[in-house]
Symmetry: C2
Amino acid sequence: MNPEVLLSRIRVVLCRTSHPGNIGAAARAMKTMGLSSLYLVQPKQFPDPEADTRATGAVDLLQRAIITSSLSEALVGASYVVALSARQRDIGPALGAPRETVARLLSEAERGDVALVFGNETVGLSNEEILHCQAAVTIPTNPDFSSLNLGSAVQVLCYDCRMAAFAERPPHVDAGVTPFSSPAATHDEIEGLYAHLESVMTATGFFNPKQPGRLLPKLRRLFGRARLERDEINILRGVLAATEVRTGHGRKG
Amino acid sequence: MNPEVLLSRIRVVLCRTSHPGNIGAAARAMKTMGLSSLYLVQPKQFPDPEADTRATGAVDLLQRAIITSSLSEALVGASYVVALSARQRDIGPALGAPRETVARLLSEAERGDVALVFGNETVGLSNEEILHCQAAVTIPTNPDFSSLNLGSAVQVLCYDCRMAAFAERPPHVDAGVTPFSSPAATHDEIEGLYAHLESVMTATGFFNPKQPGRLLPKLRRLFGRARLERDEINILRGVLAATEVRTGHGRKG
């Protein structure tokens, strides 16, 4: 597939960014590398003149940026989502190295929209946000000074995306995934499954929302690793719907 | 060799930087990747509070930065010098891709100090400055928007340096150079050769300083590609000194 098209399918999602200047720097970084799709989840201050200044000639990306109130909203339609994270979380996808992770991201982009998710400058992504992602990536830094600027982190990963998009790739780089027989499920389809699952587990008494423990994160982690196809979502939801009928919680008999 | 030691041997040389904020951003970018040696050639405004602000925890690099009045001064003792350039110059080293060029830079750092040279934000490096460098590198960008921020360019190349330093490298990655039998010549030794050569060529009438044409740049390009060893410099200068004696321009008979 045309490298420019692949790059256009990569969303950059910035969550709860504090400094508008960093949003501008991210837009500039994206555009220099041929990315164009910017999502802002609850930006603290946006639009803002400081964002425009730092974006220089990439103000068009800011103008077209999509602002959402949750990460989930920003990921609707995306079928593969990578979180930037400085550390491995107890529950969450394994941290990958940039080039390998980006190679996989580009390979997934052949099938549809994908996303790179960046957290707040100070606190990063929440554990809950990380669990919306199928993979996590860390940028190796000096252990004595790992304070990578947000714009710089966006620059580095967008650069790796461009290098990967234009690199000669073997025809079937699938990073361990068997070729999909049905389209990859999108984020919203997967979220629909999780909601359905939670509802059924609650109805069946397996899951107690008042004492949730780590059950839901563990399920997210499992399905995140599995990379669900749309057909599989349909099958799983069919199973859940059937369970509802049997336990009397379904809509209809 | 220890990757940290290799990284410590890479100088980042910023030439005629206009905005002190970019110097700070460069320092921060360097430190996150484990580089520490910053040279500033005729910075427009430095030190400056904006540089400190953008450097955050990398102010120590700014404090230890070495300020020089020429690129040549900043390169004393460096044996391999790479220029960042957006375009191929008529005369000048061939533009390489970042990863290959950085791999070579790291390989050269096994032998001694090396440098990455960045030009002014607006005009880049002059042709004369490029000719002080043995290699040139370009960061592939969107042809419709190649306006990479200086701090971002430093970030990308320092990132590639860190990745290369910590990558498993085959024992003899020499990027086409045969192993050196004598230490690589340093920048000042090479400049000494050029000055000597120019003087002899002028004395012999081969070179007319009033109509210089492209002779000197072409010689720089040639020797830049050749990657001179110290012994070779000694030999060449011996040849020149002998010529001087013969033509009566030497110090003594």
